[in-house]
Symmetry: D2
Subunit: 129 residues, 4 copies
Amino acid sequence: MEFIFEHEMKVRDYECDLQGIVNNANYQHYIEHTRHEYLSSRNISFAKLHDDGIDAVVARITMSFKVPLKSGDEFISKLAVQKEGIKYVFYQNIYRKSDMKLVLKAVVDTVTLINGRLGTCEILDAICQ
Amino acid sequence: MEFIFEHEMKVRDYECDLQGIVNNANYQHYIEHTRHEYLSSRNISFAKLHDDGIDAVVARITMSFKVPLKSGDEFISKLAVQKEGIKYVFYQNIYRKSDMKLVLKAVVDTVTLINGRLGTCEILDAICQ
Amino acid sequence: MEFIFEHEMKVRDYECDLQGIVNNANYQHYIEHTRHEYLSSRNISFAKLHDDGIDAVVARITMSFKVPLKSGDEFISKLAVQKEGIKYVFYQNIYRKSDMKLVLKAVVDTVTLINGRLGTCEILDAICQ
Amino acid sequence: MEFIFEHEMKVRDYECDLQGIVNNANYQHYIEHTRHEYLSSRNISFAKLHDDGIDAVVARITMSFKVPLKSGDEFISKLAVQKEGIKYVFYQNIYRKSDMKLVLKAVVDTVTLINGRLGTCEILDAICQ
């Protein structure tokens, strides 16, 4: 599958833990932010969706951690997305910028709640490949 | 001023940064959580207040950091609160449980927004000393 | 598999995001904290392990999100652990305390780095079922 | 006092809380990151300082919150720094990019620990105005 969006970021020191590497939970932040930036690049606001009663929520996430990011590292977060049934499945990799080594490989299944109930959303259908 | 509420917590390792001590921003989390637990002890839900159009927001915060907390430390977070004009002023200290050394001394000025405008709120007036 | 450890926690409001529910990344924090509390219950300090050159790191994580936690919710985080080859595999479920509904089902593969290289660690072997 | 460094950032949705605005503790993250980026612009690595036994720690922080940042907001974080006795005092303002309104006004007193004891550090002296 081909990545259709990428977002560059840099590790912030407060994201590192006592092991001196980025704490795992922050990768979930990184890939969430990348999804929202992708939406934003398609003129969709995650916050506005919520205000309109449309909540995209994560149903399942799988992450493989390959190389840890450290203080000062820059990285590129890439994204692909496919509709599978009622799910939007995001394929998200993170690469360390200095050598393009694979840092993280993630698959994120999201579903859409319309006013609290599972539903489909044309706005989100339009962002799939 | 006498403390009227206390809440006991324990450092979580993800709250420590690469210096091996609790990252400063987490103390703001600790004292916010203590304020909300205090509200909760008085049967006030911060989330419900928000749903009712009442937002208590921090206008100003001063924190003095005395002794850093480390992995595994237990601590006690104490609170006093006084109404001063339209502000609710929280006096909040954190003590390390093992030796009751002062960890943090904070003063937090909060104001109330009613549907987005500065206002007063009887529900919150009732929690002051 | 039988759970051998449980740890009770309560949602802190700062863990909720603009959707009004706990942000997904915090579940990774919750289950990390549970693993470290389990180590601690067996007299093993994650921070001390690190100081001794032993780093337990997450290689892979799978999380299924069932019911979202909200402001004020109390929950119980349960853990089982098995050695599989050089991996320690943690099975971790979170239940909402009010009705014991399943909130999260996670499988966490961890490996051990001894001074930066993959290795095995008798201290950690002893915590497996 | 004149600002000598600025760093541009954008709100990430996970930094917003159930009030729909950036949670206060994140401003502390923003200004910490700005200080470290300033050090980095002067070829000083916060992480390397720590490895060398030099820890810059925050002794006192005062923050006035003026206008809250929301989902999608871009902002500019500005910094000035002065040596006062053994303290490095950072003056840090954050402005919302869309209208340059003042978001946050902060004063951060830091001190230097050399192998755990209060000390002075020529490397850090060189970054002051």
